[in-house]
């Protein structure tokens, strides 16, 4: 399974998101520190789920980081996160 597919499956299992977008931006960082050349190192994730209601920004990102701890300790060098509740995303 690719890194993106693994992250998708973990996030879906943990948060049952209403929306989940995972964009591999590795190609924009070729030759940059942390870029292995193999791709799948830089990601942008947008996730919308009810699980984030009532949580601060820091708490929300910690939840996502926790689920993706293995990836962050391994192949994923950079991760840009947008974490929203369904109510916020609808605005």
């Amino acid at each position: 399974m690719t890194v993106a597919a693994t992250m998708r499956s973990k996030l879906e299992q943990a948060f049952t998101p209403a929306l989940l977008e995972i964009v591999d931006e590795s190609h924009r960082h070729v030759g940059h520190a942390g870029h292995s050349g193999a791709g799948e190192s830089h990601f942008q994730i947008r996730i919308v789920a009810p699980a984030f209601e009532g949580k601060s920004r820091v708490e929300r990102q910690r939840l996502v980081y926790g689920v993706l701890a293995e990836e962050l300790a391994g192949p994923v060098h950079a991760l840009a996160l947008t974490v929203r509740t369904p109510a916020e995303a609808a605005v």
Binding site: A33, R57, Q61, L72, A78, A80
Partner: protein, 111 residues
């Protein structure tokens, strides 16, 4: 984590009202995410202290353990962890960052 590293990190955080742990320096950020936080702080016209984690591997790992936050940059205001690049950018865009700095008694001078 090692107590001496924890003490050093705490010392850095206590050494300024606004402290950013980043890759590179404000003049030469070595990561796009760190560059964003520097840009925001510069735009707000606030004094801040920066710590280049690339100069010290023990701080680079230590700060992640210290704050239970796996990425860099990390911004601290008056000793409190505020967030990383995504959060700082969002809080800047919504005006919350200025509000937070104001409530902490830090003067903002947007250029």
């Amino acid at each position: 984590m090692d107590a001496s590293i924890r003490d050093r990190i705490q010392g850095e955080i206590d050494a300024g009202s606004i402290v950013v742990f980043m890759k590179g320096t404000p003049s030469f950020p070595q990561c796009g995410f760190s560059a964003v936080v520097v840009q925001v702080l510069n735009h707000l016209g606030v004094d801040y202290k920066s710590v280049n984690v690339l100069e010290d591997p023990s701080i680079r790992q230590g700060i992640k353990d210290f704050s239970n936050w796996p990425t860099i940059p990390q911004l601290y205001v008056k000793g409190e962890f505020i967030g990383g690049c995504d959060i700082i950018r969002e809080m800047y865009e919504t005006g919350e960052l200025m509000e937070l700095l104001n409530t902490r008694g830090i003067e903002v001078a947007v250029d």
